[in-house]
Every structure is written in C-alpha cells, then in structure tokens.
Symmetry: C2
Subunit: 258 residues, 2 copies
C-alpha cells in the first residue's frame, strides 16, 4: 500500500507543471510522503509538536518526546516563549480596549491559574519533570508555593482588564485543598482584586477538566456573568460549554491536561 | 501607569528568589514588560504571529505584517510547513485507525478544499498576494484551476480514511459557480471518491463562513451522518455548530477567512 501510493504520488508529482515552480511545497513535502501511519517509528519534528499542541491538533499525550527535551528547554528559557506570550497578551489587550460592555450583564474575564497567571517553570525544569519528558508528579503545588513566578506580560494584562472595570474570575481545576497554596502564590506574585477563585470540590471528583470547567462557567452564566474572554494554557480551559466570547491560549508545550 | 507598573515589577523581580534561577523566564519576559497595548507601534514577532494564528489567538486580521513576508515565504517553501502538515496528518491517521465506528450512524470525515486538500501556493507566492502581505484577490480560483497543487501528506490521509470505509464530505465556502473549477483542480490533483462537494448557494449569501458551515454540518447530522473528524486550514472551518468529534487545523499563515 505504501509503495503503490508512493509510486502513484511520484508519477503525479513528475507530471505536475506546478512541480517546476521553485516555491512549490511539493519539493519538500515529497520527503514526508509515505511516512504517514508509521506509528511508533514516526518522530514528530519538535517545533511541529509544539505548534500542533497549540493548535489543539495533538491531544491526550502523556509526555513530551524525549528527543525534544532540549528544544523545549530552549523554547521556554530563551526568547520565543516570551514573544509568544507577548503576542497573546497584546491581542487580548486590544480586544479588551475595544470590547463593548453589556448594559445588563456583568462582563468578566476568566483566567486559569497554573501556567497562565503563574509559571512553575522551576518545577517543570527540575529533574522530576525535565521539561515534560517526564510526567508531572505530586509535588507541583509544593514547588508552585515555594518557587512559583509571575508571568509579567500576563500580569500586565490582568491589571489592565481589572482597571478597565471587568471583574476577574479565577477558574482552576486544582483541588480545594490547594486553595491556600494558590492564594499565597498569587499574592506573592503580586496578583490581587479577583472576584472569585473557583477550585474543584469533592463533588467534582471524577469529572474531566472540560466537564468541571464547563459546569462552573454555566453556573457563572446563571449568575448573569458574561464571559468576555477566557484565558488559559490548556485547551481543556477553552473548550466545552459557554467558553466565552473569545478565548486566548497561553502557550504550554510541557504537559497536557485531560 | 506603564512606569509605575514597571517599577513594581522591577521590585518584585529583584526580590523573587526564583529570579536567580538561570532558567527563569522572567529574565527575558522583562524585556517585553510594558510593551502591552502599544497598538499600532507594537510589532509582533513573525513566528509568534504564525503560532498565534494556529492557536486561534490572532483573529480578524486582514494581511500578514509586511515585515513578515520573507519569514512566511521561508516557512512555506522550506521544510517547516511540510513538517507541520506531516505532524497533523500522522496524528489524524492514528486517530482514524483507532476510531470506533458507530453501528447506526454513518461516520464521515469532512475536509475543506482550499489550502487543505489543495494548495494554491503559486498564487499566494504571486506578486498579487506576496505571501499574504497583500489581501487575496478575485483571481484565487483562476490560479487554483491552472496551478493548484496537491498536498501529498493530506492526500495520503484522504486516501487512507477512504480505504478505512469512512465517507468523505468536502465542505467549501466557495460559491457554487466555482464547482467546475474545484472538481477539475481536485481531479487533476488526484482526488476521487468523495460523497458530496458542498458549496455556497445563492441562499447562503451574506452568511459568515462559520454560520454557513455550521448549517451544512447540522444538515449532515440530520441525514444521520456523524462527523468523526473535521479537517480545515481555517478556524472558521472548525468552530460553530456540530464541528465534529475531532478537529484538525492545517497550518495556514497567509490569510484569515472571516
């Protein structure tokens, strides 16, 4: 099957006049032809992995491919991660500035906490996690409490939308038992002024993050809150029910929340 | 406001022990602090622009920033575009292989046509469009008919899912008047075996792409079709009603469909 398809493609390509165009993408796509479906033998390009995660194409993955560890380290610790976050926050700021508030509903911004308002990069970079090539462990919140850091561009956005008169709701899938840890880490990072910090209760055990956050957003809707924007680092923050008038995906190539 | 916030951040950073960690992202994020909301003066990083588009963060843009023309040209005509498409098609293939078909519903794959099954890169690279730094013109379909090229990795996926017994529905927002052009371009590219090619009729004039495609997907639902997967290069293909059990965003940094 692979061979016959390759032969077919080769014929097709050799007869396509477009194939003579120097800009023709087929020139390099030919290299990838026939590699589809190699399963475990297929090695995804590390930048393609990162972008595929951001586009919600790559789902349900457990760890970053081991050979991408240095790529992810460079992405997070050199310039690109910061530039990508800056692109998101600038777009979000422009959206907020031009947003038409509703006269009767309470327009709010919903922010996720972990890896959105706060970075736990010191833990993600630790020997436990190794930039996502190892799964997250139980120590995430200990590290966040001790070593969590602010993400300045996100905090600027947070402060700006608060100043514009939006209420801010923090919605995290963390268990209620971590409330104190999150409040301390948020306060240490300089965040203040949120209306609610919604966490996962006993009753939410066994619910997926999408289900849990969808239910909580629908409860907000019932309280006449309108979600002007929803900001999170996971697609499970931004999909499901009543996701908001606009979503902003904060880049996170290190782990995937189911 | 900017200055006080910067001063505040500077203080915060200088007192954060995490700031002494060599991997601390704050080191470079500081550079971007305070740049939020500069509006027209803000220059987005070209890779951040591309990734922001793929993540559905950057919306409603008219053209690629002029200073990103060479970046986009390199992205499309060297290796990365092909690698990114390969990452999507491999993920989609693995999804298709493990998909549990429904006993009573007709499981289908929905594909967009323009820049999904077919590449019109010769037009996008032309002096008319200049890699998206100029808006698309009326000649898109003329060029597609004459110079459209297959995207091999996508065609392999198409052929594989067809062979697996999925019906394939092509859903394009092109006007019905372009039906002959699309059929010729698809056939020249080697595509065959689709069940329907759904295009925009008179009655659909004035509808946004999201509305039009949502309505057509709901009509498919009414015909007992279940969308196993939905593949397109625009978020307007992949958002709205009944988007499918899984979406696959094909990279396209050149234009945005409203």
């Amino acid at each position: 099957m692979r061979l016959s398809l390759l032969a077919f493609l080769a014929t097709l390509l050799s007869t396509s006049h477009a194939a003579f165009n120097a800009d023709n993408p087929i020139r390099q796509l030919r290299r990838s032809s026939g590699r589809i479906g190699l399963g475990p033998d297929y090695k995804v390009n590390c930048q393609s992995f990162r972008v595929g995660v951001e586009a919600n194409n790559l789902r349900d993955w457990i760890t970053v491919p081991s050979y991408c560890k240095n790529y992810i380290k460079t992405y997070l610790t050199k310039n690109q991660w910061g530039l990508d976050i800056e692109a998101v926050t600038n777009e979000a700021y422009e959206y907020a500035v031009h947003f038409q508030k509703d006269a009767f509903l309470k327009d709010i911004w919903v922010f996720d906490v972990e890896e959105t308002l706060l970075s736990n990069l010191n833990y993600l970079a630790s020997s436990d996690v190794q930039y996502g090539t190892q799964p997250l462990g139980l120590h995430y919140y200990e590290w966040l409490r001790a070593n969590g850091t602010v993400v300045p561009a996100i905090q600027e956005l947070y402060d700006e939308v608060l100043e514009m008169g939006f209420e801010i709701i923090l919605l995290s899938a963390a268990p209620s038992s971590e409330r104190e840890t999150l409040v301390i880490a948020l306060t240490d990072a300089g965040y203040s002024g949120w209306t609610k910090l919604i966490l996962r209760d006993e009753a939410d055990n066994g619910k997926s993050t999408v289900q849990f956050k969808s239910e909580k957003r629908l409860e907000l809707k019932g309280l006449r809150y309108r979600i002007a924007a929803n900001v999170g680092d996971q697609w499970s923050d931004l999909t499901g029910e009543y996701v908001g008038l606009r979503t902003f995906k904060v880049p996170n190539p290190v782990y995937y929340v189911f």
